[in-house]
């Protein structure tokens, strides 16, 4: 069963077409990684699918109940403690203050936050802790779909791995589907069931590769071997590291 379907999505910024005829679908409980060169419009696709940006053309069909998102920057509210930031979706959902605590604590635990961190403000947290808070916020309402918009780009390599493991574990236990935007092919291979490659010019999806086994079952050697194979033998990934940021806003 597909829970998210994009049908021939097109979008333009200031009259210049950045996306055209993007069609993709995500099944229930499936993690789909969307890779492509920098500036090819990957983030815009996620924002259109999540309803932050309205597409100029095409249709978005959402069959899940509740979605959340982890952004590239944590996007925490600086005036609220970690607890209130994590509880924000619950507050929007109309859960009373007293009823939020259990869910907040559980989500924080899953994201690897300690109870004593919950009363700190974002300015008192490190970059990794802030992203953990953002992940906890995305998990707190038990969504069945999560958008990840290059969430770990700003983190160092070790922290990035920890965060990826966290997402893999959370996905396995909570069975949410996800669209994971990234430009890091290794990250895509570690985390997803299926990789979609966006055309370098945003003209449709260039192709898809289904990965063997479940996310988290692939060890480092397997990830590395797969990455090498994709980059050297697979023509689909030939242009994935092309960068010309001047061409796009």
């Amino acid at each position: 069963m597909t829970v998210l379907e994009l049908q021939r999505i097109g979008h333009s910024f200031f009259g210049r077409k950045v996306l055209d005829a993007i069609s993709l679908s995500v099944g229930a409980g499936e993690i789909v990684a969307l890779v492509g060169p920098s500036g090819s419009g990957k983030s815009t696709i996620a924002h259109i699918a999540a309803g932050v940006v309205d597409a100029r053309e095409g249709r978005v069909v959402r069959r899940y109940h509740r979605h959340t998102m982890v952004f590239q920057d944590p996007r925490l509210m600086p005036w609220a403690t970690a607890r209130d930031n994590i509880g924000f979706p619950l507050r929007l959902a109309g859960v009373r203050r007293g009823g939020r605590d259990g869910a907040i604590r559980a989500a924080a635990l899953r994201a690897g936050l300690l109870p004593e961190d919950l009363d700190k403000y974002p300015s008192e947290l490190s970059g990794g802790m802030r992203q953990r808070t953002a992940i906890a916020r995305a998990l707190v309402t038990d969504p069945d779909f999560i958008y990840f918009d290059e969430p770990f780009t700003a983190l160092d390599v070790a922290l990035k791995r920890r965060m990826q493991d966290l997402v893999i574990k959370a996905a396995a236990s909570a069975h949410f589907a996800a669209l994971f935007i990234t430009h890091d092919l290794s990250e895509a291979i570690r985390i997803s069931h299926r990789i979609l490659v966006l055309d370098a010019n945003g003209r449709g999806i260039a192709g898809a590769r289904i990965l063997p086994g479940a996310p988290g079952s692939r060890d480092d050697a397997a990830v590395f071997a797969l990455r090498q194979r994709f980059l050297t033998e697979d023509p689909l990934f030939a242009r994935i590291h092309d960068i010309d940021e001047r061409l796009r806003p």
């Binding site: 932050v52 509740r66 959340t68 952004f71 403000y121």
Partner: protein, 272 residues
């Protein structure tokens, strides 16, 4: 557990605030020392001693009539301030969200700010006579631009990323405003409001003096006519004291309650 810890947090912030009073007291003592030096250099007539002024102020307060005059001026200043806060904030927020309105209001603002408050007092006296309305209107016209600009800045410099986040998590336009934008606007708005409150008092006294509308301004005019310098200084001191009381009783607690996170982000040396 949490109410207790938040009460403790509040108590510790209050204690720190009281402790910071020493620094304020030291600053005041410095002013008093310079004042005393000026008094000794120029004599009683030009600059009465700070102690004499203090005694004159104390006498005025115990007279009974001073309290009434202070209350009158404070009431006028606060009425004008409330009016300018409401109008300035509402108009500023509206203009911040509507670029066309903002473009239209910029020249209006320049004109409003270019007219000296004295001119407004003269006009208001002609329109309303020597009444509360003269004072209120002068305050309104001279302080609203500051609040307006603060509100506009708050709207235009807000972090839209957080609003997008709220949108993803299901907040409609109204809740995006009340839950996210309003908090961001307030951080720019509060300094403007504090500034406006200060000038409300100053403008109120000036308007009272020129329009002969009673209050502290009227008392100042009388002290000047009778060449009672100590009393004039005492009135100035009382006006400043009234402003300080209003600012620290009304505005600061509200601000520190809303901006606890700033306190958390402040470097150690600023905090203590």
């Amino acid at each position: 557990m949490r109410p207790v810890s938040s009460a403790l947090d509040r108590l510790s912030r209050f204690g720190r605030f009281l402790w910071s009073g020493w620094a304020g007291l030291a600053g005041l003592a410095l002013i008093a020392a310079l004042w005393q030096a000026g008094h000794e250099a120029y004599g009683d007539f030009i600059l009465p001693a700070p102690l004499d002024t203090l005694i004159a102020g104390w006498r005025l307060l115990h007279d009974g009539s001073a309290v009434e005059l202070l209350a009158l001026t404070t009431r006028r200043a606060l009425a004008g301030f409330a009016l300018c806060a409401v109008i300035g904030t509402a108009a500023g927020v509206a203009a911040g969200y509507s670029p066309a309105t903002l473009r239209l209001s910029r020249p209006v603002l320049t004109v409003l700010m270019g007219v000296p408050p004295i001119a407004w007092i003269v006009l208001a006296m002609i329109w309303f006579g020597a009444s509360d309305r003269t004072v209120a209107m002068t305050i309104l016209v001279s302080t609203t631009p500051v609040v307006f600009i603060g509100a506009v800045e708050g709207v235009t410099t807000r972090d839209r990323g957080i609003e997008d986040m709220a949108r993803v998590f299901g907040a409609g336009p109204i809740r995006r405003f009340t839950h996210v934008a309003a908090r961001q606007i307030s951080t720019q708005l509060f300094p403007a409001l504090i500034l406006a409150l200060g000038s409300s008092f100053k403008v109120a006294i000036m308007a009272e003096l020129l329009a002969n509308a009673g209050g502290i301004g009227g008392a100042l005019a009388r002290a000047r006519a009778m060449l009672d310098i100590a009393e004039a200084m005492a009135w100035v001191g009382l006006a400043v004291a009234a402003l300080i009381v209003v600012e620290y009783v009304l505005i600061r607690p509200l601000r520190s309650e809303l901006e606890r996170w700033r306190d958390a982000a402040a470097p150690w040396g600023v905090k203590r």
